[in-house]
């Protein structure tokens, strides 16, 4: 087991990366005014709700610190906790499987389902299975997986991609959802309105048939408790609970970072998560199960998929603290404008901008670390205090280093950065450079400027160039102040 942790051999699967760069992919979202409106309304609402319930607790900062500390301590001894977890699950009649990457995990789950002889399964919303593309893998094996989370179902029926961790269909409004239901649900009322109750009713009817017939269910896990082998899922609709209790075989796919050592530790996260994600004081449906219950067959697939490599990176490690609450998405001004699809990963928003390149390596996701203005709003709301801006900056340096390795000739950006640093390390060169700038008199709205000024000037005027730099003014005017210290005249 420990050898496995040290040796991630295969590379993470496709749902963590896209061929398209963020700026290119963002263009679609930016141009979609309906989506931008939907996102603004949804994120503003949930953001305010979160701020309200967080403000109610006067020990929020301590809770945050506790959450971060528990996660860090667990990650520091992850191999031990995983072994304890495996022993506890096995002892209680469950079976633990280990998957180095998405392909292995998908193969394990497919094999387990095929052994039951079933071809239809129900699913509890899960980011891990999203990450490895399980539904698609099952489809190629002739197995139909139905998502039972309402928003996830909307995405699935609409043959769409999720654009938010918690609310995968956040980019859709009610009329769009009505259209998706009308077009893709068998025996739906053709006169379905976009009234929330009507929509929920249609989904309930559709799902009920599947709950009652499903013999196999697949879930993810929000937390796994190492000491008892308990798994824990938090959800708002109760549909997950139907999946967890009705079917005869339950397969849980869980990232190896989801463990907490003891039951007691859960208490902290059961406070942090609902307030951060849905802005609720307490989670509506919290399900926990330990091993196999009578008549049920229980499996858990522990997924690495780049996590060991992330753990090995001292700058990137804390991304594994993430409890997928999505608070950082809801406050992110870049996410709100560009939309979740622009990140090309199942993990969008600020955490996606660090987690995806951490899991795949920066070479596969080189534009994501730059998809942030470093405004810091994400760090402020993160319930486990992940310093996302600092991590982004580290990843940017990794991207630059990787490019350097790849190309013998420095990129234009690297060349200009080196030149700027060279100029800025000499008073003489710097003074001369500033002077030429102030004499340059570039037109403020010049249509054809060289990059990078061209991308600035597409939407913004350049500042008026001053006639005199500050240092030249100082030399001329500053002399009337009391004698300066000798070092200034150096």
């Amino acid at each position: 087991m420990t050898t496995f942790l040290g040796m991630p051999t295969a590379s993470p699967t496709v749902h963590l990366r896209t061929g398209e760069s963020f700026p290119d992919a963002a263009r679609t979202g930016l141009a979609d005014s309906q989506q931008r409106h939907n996102l603004r309304v949804a994120t503003t609402t949930i953001r305010e709700k979160r701020a309200g319930v967080v403000a109610e607790l006067d020990d929020w900062e301590q809770l945050r610190a506790a959450g971060a500390a528990i996660k860090d301590a667990t990650l520091a001894e992850l191999p031990d906790h995983l072994e304890r977890f495996e022993a506890a699950v096995t002892e209680r009649g469950g079976t633990v499987h280990w998957a180095r990457d998405g392909d292995e995990a998908n193969a394990i789950v497919t094999r387990l389902i095929q052994a039951t002889g079933e071809t239809d399964v129900v699913k509890v919303k899960s980011m891990a299975t999203e990450e490895i593309g399980l539904n698609e893998a099952l489809a190629t094996a002739g197995i139909t997986a139905t998502e039972t989370d309402l928003a996830e179902l909307i995405v699935q029926l609409g043959d769409d991609r999720p654009s938010h961790i918690l609310v995968p269909a956040i980019h859709r409004n009610r009329s769009e959802i009505r259209d998706i239901f009308r077009d893709h649900m068998d025996d739906v009322d053709p006169g379905l309105t976009n009234d929330p109750e009507a929509l929920a009713g249609a989904a309930r009817l559709y799902l009920r048939r599947r709950f009652l017939s499903a013999k196999v269910a697949i879930s993810g896990a929000n937390f796994g408790v190492a000491e008892t082998g308990t798994l824990c899922v938090l959800e708002s609709e109760g549909n997950g609970r139907m999946c967890l209790t009705l079917p005869r075989t339950l397969i849980t796919v869980m990232g190896i970072e989801k463990l907490v050592p003891t039951w007691r530790d859960l208490e902290v996260f059961l406070q942090l998560l609902p307030r951060s994600s849905t802005g609720e004081r307490m989670n509506p449906y919290t399900s926990m199960w330990t091993g196999a219950t009578e008549g049920q067959d229980f499996h858990v697939v522990l997924l690495d998929n780049g996590r060991t490599a992330t753990l090995a990176d001292p700058h990137g490690r804390s991304a594994l603290r993430c409890i997928r609450c999505s608070a950082c998405l809801n406050v992110c001004p870049v996410y709100e404008r560009a939309g979740g699809h622009a990140y090309g990963s199942v993990y969008p928003g600020p955490i996606g901008a660090v987690l995806s390149p951490q899991l795949t390596g920066v070479k596969d996701n080189p534009s994501l670390p730059f998809a942030s203005s470093l405004c810091g709003a994400c760090y402020d709301v993160c319930p486990v205090a992940i310093d996302i801006p600092t991590m982004l900056v580290h990843l940017r340096a990794e991207v630059v280093a990787a490019k350097r390795e790849e190309h013998r000739v420095p990129t234009a950006e690297a060349a200009s950065m080196t030149a700027a640093a060279w100029t800025m390390t000499s008073r003489r060169r710097w003074t001369a450079a500033l002077r030429s700038l102030s004499l340059g008199r570039v037109a403020r709205r010049m249509p054809a400027l060289p990059p990078p000024l061209s991308s600035w000037a597409r939407s913004r005027d350049l500042p008026q160039m001053p006639r005199e730099t500050l240092r030249d003014w100082w030399v001329r005017e500053g002399s009337d102040v009391p004698p300066a210290a000798p070092e200034e005249d150096a």
């Binding site: 709003a377 640093a421 800025m424 390390t425 500033l434 600035w456 939407s459 200034e488």
Partner: protein, 245 residues
């Protein structure tokens, strides 16, 4: 008190008026200002774009230049934030422990303008007069990295004749973000558009901030749209007096 001014590369070259205003305010309060000529840039642009190695000599240079002073002031929340939170990180990353100690010591004496005025010099009323309708944008790095809090607002509220109006969604980023404005120009522009809309909704003549960089971005957008609203740095408002007009 003798105070060294770190103007920042941007103010030195593009917005000298902001530097002059900083000098004016401090002199009016009876302090001596010095401008160490060896200063250039805090290196933030290099660090944030992924070039920490290139930033290292700039970090060292900042320490070399400002070590002799008891108080250093900069009219930029963003650069003050970089000095306080990035300089030691960079020095540590390249294993220069002696430099870590030095930059930490200099950073502890480096202040953004509103911090220096309120915390070190203990003033909120600097004797300014500015009879205009002004709205204040708390730039992200001042707000979240430096945590200047309401210090700039306290200074503004004490200005004679000012009509200070609240900015809706004030804490949302304007979309500048250094090289973000170039690398993700379209997303940056979309953020700017919302910021400009918020500023316009206040009916303010002036949008003030503590960072010349964000103001360059906001001002560049508003100038393009010819909306008639202008940008002004906090230092420039604080430097204005009845006599000066």
């Amino acid at each position: 008190m003798r105070i060294a001014l770190f103007a920042t590369c941007l103010v030195d070259g593009l917005f000298p008026e902001v530097g002059k205003a900083t000098v004016t305010v401090l002199r009016r309060l009876g302090h001596q200002v010095v401008f160490p000529m060896e200063q250039t840039c805090c290196g933030q642009m290099h660090v944030n774009t992924g070039y920490p190695r290139e930033a290292l000599p700039l970090v060292r240079r900042y320490a070399d230049t400002f070590e002799p002073y008891d108080a250093i002031v900069t009219p930029s929340g963003s650069c003050a934030g970089a000095i306080r939170h990035q300089h030691a990180q960079v020095a540590r990353q390249f294993g220069d422990d002696a430099l870590v100690d030095r930059v930490e010591a200099v950073a502890a004496r480096s202040y953004e303008l509103s911090e220096l005025l309120v915390d070190v010099l203990g003033v909120t009323d600097v004797g300014a007069s500015y009879p205009h309708r002004v709205t204040y944008h708390p730039t992200c790095h001042s707000l979240r990295i430096l945590r200047v809090g309401d210090r700039p607002l306290r200074l503004l509220r004490a200005v004679d004749g000012i009509d200070l109006v609240e900015l809706p969604q004030a804490q949302t980023c304007c979309g500048f973000g250094g090289t973000f404005a170039l690398k993700n120009s379209e997303t940056s522009t979309a953020m700017l558009a919302d910021k400009m809309r918020a500023i316009q909704s206040t009916g303010a003549q002036m949008c003030a901030a503590t960072d010349a960089s964000c103001l360059m971005h906001i001002g560049g957008g508003m100038s393009r749209l010819d909306v008639g609203t202008e940008t002004v740095h906090l230092a420039q408002i604080l430097a204005s007096t009845k006599d000066a007009r």
